[in-house]
């Protein structure tokens, strides 16, 4: 196809992506270099019958004027990246010199907002992915063996948790897990503790979120594994049966090796998807104990009176770096595939 024709065919789609995905990333970076203008303070002398005193208060007029002149705020360079809410260099240095043991240092480090969020995000990613792959594989094997007429409805049932948006999915589970809901009461009954609530401690909330993550992500792994199972060659399996291999041995030595590439694909996608975890935290009302990187950005942009564009921009940039690290293996894989295709 000539370049000219290609250009006109691709132009609308490319323009949309450039304007609304490419530019925002640059705009985010630009915002992260700025910081909200300080409020201009003025001293006012206030006199009443008991005497005069000076008060400092915000000069609203001057502040609004400054905001109009510099809507993005003043230039701050990379300052926002190093402040307490992001990489917190000063705090880390201080903690390093002052803390007596490694444990104390880690404790201080993980109480800084950014590192706390990073810890949760990574824990969530790496706790959810392995069970998702294993469960997805088992369910796929299992569905593959049932009668053909039952397959359709079964698959529909199994993929439901994936179809609903994470916010709705987490709400549905949250209402059941609530201390007054059916699962919550059941757990209280099980442990014989009428005050037990999954919301009561941070560990329990984290576990709940991770269980939700597994529930939501397993269908995706299932679908991909199930499709891959249809492509497993039958000849080696029959040969193995004739040689007297048990069912377990056949799965272990023929099916699983065949599915390795698919499994890596699922793992990478799962890690990438879960790295942006946000909605479950809102759905489970877990903001207090579990914050993710995405939630930090959401929170900066949510604040009613003043949106912290600078802070949100800086966290966005750091998140993108995280995504880039996770994405590298996928890119290398695509590159190889594309080269062999040619």
């Amino acid at each position: 196809m000539p370049h000219r024709t290609f250009f006109w065919f691709f132009f609308p789609s490319g323009l949309a992506m450039l304007l609304f995905i490419g530019l925002p990333i640059i705009s985010s970076f630009f915002q992260s270099l700025h910081i909200e203008p300080e409020q201009i303070l003025m001293e006012v002398e206030k006199c009443d019958p008991f005497g005069c005193k000076t008060e400092t208060k915000v000069d609203i007029e001057a502040t609004t004027k400054l905001q109009e002149e510099q809507p993005l705020g003043r230039f701050n360079g990379l300052g926002t990246y190093g402040d307490r809410n992001h990489l917190a260099f000063d705090e880390i240095k201080e903690a390093w010199t002052n803390s007596s043991s490694m444990a104390e240092f880690t404790d201080i480090l993980l109480n800084l907002p950014f590192y706390k969020a990073l810890l949760f995000t990574l824990t969530f990613c790496f706790a959810v992915t392995p069970p998702v792959v294993v469960l997805g594989f088992i369910v796929a094997l299992s569905v593959n063996t049932i009668t053909k007429s039952l397959k359709g409805p079964t698959i529909f049932g199994v993929i439901l948790p994936m179809i609903v948006t994470p916010l709705i999915g987490s709400l549905v589970l949250f209402w059941m897990i609530d201390a007054k809901g059916i699962l919550g009461s059941f757990i209280q009954f099980l442990f014989d503790d009428p005050n037990l609530s999954l919301k009561s401690s941070s560990q329990l909330t984290w576990i709940t979120l991770i269980i939700y993550g597994i529930w939501h992500n397993t269908p995706f792994a299932f679908v991909v594994f199930y499709a891959a199972l249809q492509t497993v060659p039958q000849d080696p399996i029959e040969a193995a049966i004739i040689d007297g291999a048990s069912r377990y041995e056949r799965v272990r030595h023929i099916v699983i090796p065949h599915l390795y590439p698919v499994a890596t694909f699922i793992i990478l996608i799962c890690l990438m998807d879960n790295f942006r975890v946000l909605e479950p935290i809102i759905g489970f009302a877990a903001e207090g104990v579990a914050q993710s990187l995405s939630w930090m950005i959401y929170n900066d942009l949510r604040s009613e009176n003043k949106m912290l564009f600078g802070s949100a921009g800086a966290t966005s940039m750091l998140t993108i770096i995280g995504v880039a690290i996770l994405l590298t293996p996928v890119l290398i894989r695509t590159w190889r595939e594309f080269r062999t295709e040619r």
Partner: protein, 293 residues
């Protein structure tokens, strides 16, 4: 194609059936429970005394005179203005699906037929764009949108969702067009068609299976979106998902909490119906494209 020697033992079938049944309960029961509970009052759905109240509806009987009630539905749709959120969702979903399919088919067709190296870099760029967390993009939108005074309205959100959706649509349709034999449109070109005519008269009639799959995914993205719609729309223009979240903001009001429960059912039911019809396309899309991330 099960060979006769690969028969399953009775024992295995039994264990397998149990496992599948258990897994089905895990994935389906929460939705059935929520559906059932949405016809009860809050004192039953979140029952302090006995969880069985949610099944029998004891308090619902006391409060409304019947064991089940549609009060939460009626109130959320009228007083809670859920009808408006539904309208907005329909407008956004239909527009996003139409526009992104239009742009996507043209772009993906060009990508699949061009033999130059830049197509690879475009596809890689699309893959990177696809991996960007939506919230980081939103943080880049807000400030310019405020300055341009286009924040809060539906068209802005539609364009943003179309753009966010493009990378996946492109990849999906690209791999679909790769399976359409090149000879088909090449013969049309030899017969004197322009590229556009070849696309219009030769490719368009055979591209519908791929388009339906891509459309299904665009629909799910637009319908399910929370990050973009909750931050880029003002309260009056909220779609269903941010609206449900807004109901939850007022927990003190016990009536509102059931609004959220009933709205979850109202929002999920149509989606499930659509998926029931298009399940095959959904699964083929997830596997064929192999680029969900």
């Amino acid at each position: 194609m099960e060979s006769k020697i690969n028969r399953y033992s009775k024992q295995l079938i039994l264990i397998n059936s149990f496992f599948i049944l258990a897994w089905l309960i895990v994935s389906v029961f929460p939705f059935i429970w929520t559906f059932w509970g949405s016809f009860k009052v809050k004192a039953d759905f979140f029952s302090r005394a006995d969880w069985m109240f949610a099944v029998t509806g004891v308090n619902t009987l006391i409060e409304t005179g019947d064991t089940s009630t549609v009060k939460a539905y009626v109130e959320s749709w009228t007083e809670g203005e859920f009808w408006k959120a539904t309208m907005n969702t329909i407008i956004i979903t239909v527009s996003v699906v139409t526009i992104s399919l239009f742009l996507g088919t043209l772009g993906a067709y060009a990508l699949s037929r061009s033999t130059y190296k830049y197509t690879f870099w475009i596809l890689i760029a699309a893959l990177i764009f696809r991996a960007m967390p939506h919230i980081t993009l939103v943080s880049g939108y807000l400030f310019p949108f405020f300055q341009l005074n286009v924040w809060g309205i539906l068209p802005t959100t539609i364009i943003v969702l179309v753009a966010i959706n493009q990378p996946f649509t492109l990849w999906l349709l690209y791999s679909f067009f790769k399976t359409v034999p090149k000879e088909l449109d090449e013969s049309a070109l030899i017969d004197g068609c322009s590229y556009f005519q070849a696309f219009r008269f030769v490719i368009m009639p055979v591209m519908w299976p791929g388009v339906v799959t891509a459309g299904l995914f665009s629909m799910m993205l637009a319908y399910n979106d929370f990050t973009v719609t909750s931050l880029l729309l003002n309260q009056q223009n909220y779609t269903m998902v941010p609206k449900i979240n807004a109901y939850l903001g007022t927990i003190e009001h016990s009536g509102n909490y059931m609004w959220a429960v009933s709205s979850v059912v109202s929002a999920t039911a149509p989606l499930f119906m659509i998926i029931m019809f298009f399940q095959r396309q959904l699964i083929s899309g997830l596997t064929a494209g192999a680029v969900k991330g």
